[in-house]
Amino acid sequence: MGTSIPAEQRSSREAPELQLFSTMALIRAFETRVSELYRDGEIPGFVHTSLGQEAVAAGVGTALRDDDYVATTHRGHGHCLARGMEVEGMMAELFARGEGICHGKGGSMHIADPARGVLGANAIVGASLPLAVGAGLSSKLLGQGRVAVAFFGEGAVNQGAFHEAVNLAAIQSLPVVLVCENNVYAEFSDSRLMAKVPSVAERCASYGVDASVVDGNDAAAVYGVTASATERARAGDGPYLIEAETYRWHGHYEGDAQPYKPEEEASAWRERDPLEVSAARLRERGETSDEELERIRAEAGERVERAIERARELPAPDPEEAYADVYAD
């Protein structure tokens, strides 16, 4: 099992640290407010936030080509934002408005924007994997050079879909990058207790698919390995798995009191805030002032507030909308 990409296969692209920071700031602002709005009853349904995991979304999302595909999970807001989805359309969707990006028929767990390659969040654990493999098959057969990314958690690695999909991608040598966000907990359960071999990279290696373990709270590190993995995939070298070690700050869903998490563990991970990791590097380089970083965070917050104000004013979908889009004709 390779835990790092060989030097000759590493991307020469340098991580755009400030851009990564900005993307993470937007995700942080979005998720923080979504959590509050859900608590206050303004957003219906189920909501799963990615607070604490922003570096994975930003690192992967920024390293992709504009036309690459992303299939994601129930915890997908960050991935969508990192792929450039409009904050306004997303927020309106979470508010279940007719002008939401999915006309109020998807919601948080099904938010999608195929025009930006986002094939959708998905409420079925492990479902992103076969879908991304299919997108990789399309790209290969149509000669498009597009890479398909599947986001999934370490919990999904205990689904048959993971094993079947990795094997299929491997034998077909498809341009697929498998991004496992290992956030330690599979829903309410400690995933280290749910597999005799908890290392996702190690399990993946048995299918002949190379893998890297990366610090999932370091967006630049995630960017680097994603850049390399996508370049390999585009060159026809087949799938690659990235196991990004990170931590879910909030519960499995908003409202989960998380009695199963040790306090020390949670606070230790909060110390390694992905935004602070990035900010520290920017400060070290002396290129960006604290004021500039604060300004970026404030702007992200304002952007989200504007989207919330707009979403609040929008009407519910037209009743006829319920009957539209079931079939193609």
Partner: protein
């Protein structure tokens, strides 16, 4: 009907299916065939025989025995520009890959407000009557017909094996296409009818009792019609979704009696839906209650004697029709 099929009454259902896939692969390079053994081996029943040699391994793709992965991948491919035909070897096996059909293909167009199209055909086959046992004999069309977003097509004739398959591939909605292996070696006129997908066909005109059926049971219903004494109007539904109730209602209004015959287990089967709709639409015009004839609610046994005792036969169909006629 494509000229690539041997014409006339000698065409087999299985060859019509193969010709339908060949025509689809020929006319649109986005069409691919994906499944277990469909390529070099030609498929377990040889439905795809010759396609691998003709269209190559990139478009006729052999997969591992991993239905969840390859059915899911077919859905992912359909979302991103291909038009896959995916073969699930036996309809019973949808149990291991229901999620891509139920939660992905059927829902993603709707949940994205039409931003995603899912032009995929899930080919599978059923057909009890040859001791295949309880895990290789089920007609589960009511399962999939219950899911909005899926079309459910069940060709009963040679012409439909070809035409409905091609129509399903051309359709931009996900289609569950249920073949019947008991019909694979049947021969028929491949030039017949050419009705569009979604239209039922009056397979036999009659006056006393309307008999609605699909799949393998069509032939038994037609044979029952020959047995008399009741005069049967036999309707081949061809697809459950779309459901052509107009044709069923027109006929039932005329005869005043309706018998629904299907191979699937009768309880909670598709026949119940048709009966309910007729009750809604024609309650005052019926001469008798609507009757159903399907398999009893037991798993299909292995024994040929037990198996054939359970399935509707031309005799049990004609007797049921005659009873209806006598009732009112």
């Amino acid at each position: 009907m494509s000229t690539q099929t041997e014409s006339g009454s000698e065409t087999r259902y299985i060859d019509a299916l193969g010709a339908g896939m060949a025509a689809a692969l020929e006319e649109d390079e986005r069409v691919v065939l994906i499944g277990i053994d469909v390529g070099a081996g030609g498929g377990i029943f040889q439905v795809s025989k010759g396609l691998y040699d003709r269209f190559g391994p990139e478009r006729v793709i052999d997969t591992p025995i991993s239905e969840m992965a390859y059915v899911g991948a077919a859905v992912g491919a359909a979302m991103t520009g291909l038009r896959p035909i995916v073969e699930i070897m036996f309809m019973d096996f949808v149990g291991v890959c229901m999620d891509p059909i139920l939660n992905q293909a059927a829902k993603l167009r709707y949940m994205t407000a039409g931003a995603l199209e899912i032009p995929v055909v899930f080919r599978m086959q059923t057909g009890a009557g040859k001791s295949a046992g309880a895990q290789h004999s089920q007609s589960l069309e009511a399962w999939v017909a219950h899911v909005p977003g899926l079309k459910v097509v069940m060709p009963a004739t040679v012409a439909d094996a070809h035409d409905l398959l091609l129509a399903s591939v051309r359709d931009s909605s996900p289609v569950v296409f249920v073949e019947n292996r008991r019909l694979y070696s049947s021969r028929g006129d491949c030039e017949a009818d050419q009705l569009p997908l979604g239209r039922a066909r009056v397979a036999r005109a009659g006056e006393d009792v309307t008999v609605v059926t699909w799949g393998q049971m069509l032939r038994r219903c037609l044979a029952a019609g020959e047995e008399g004494p009741a005069s049967l109007e036999v309707i081949d539904l061809r697809s459950l979704r779309p459901l052509d109730m107009k044709t069923v209602i027109e006929s039932t209004r005329r005869t005043g009696r309706l018998l629904i015959v299907h191979e699937a287990v009768q309880d909670f089967g598709a026949g119940a839906e048709i009966a309910a709709r007729i009750a809604d639409e024609l309650f005052d015009e019926l001469r008798t209650p609507v009757r159903r004839l399907g398999n009893p609610a037991v798993p299909m046994p292995f024994s040929p004697e037990l198996e054939s005792a359970l399935m509707p036969t031309s005799k049990s169909i004609s007797e049921a029709a005659q009873r209806l006629k006598m009732e009112g």
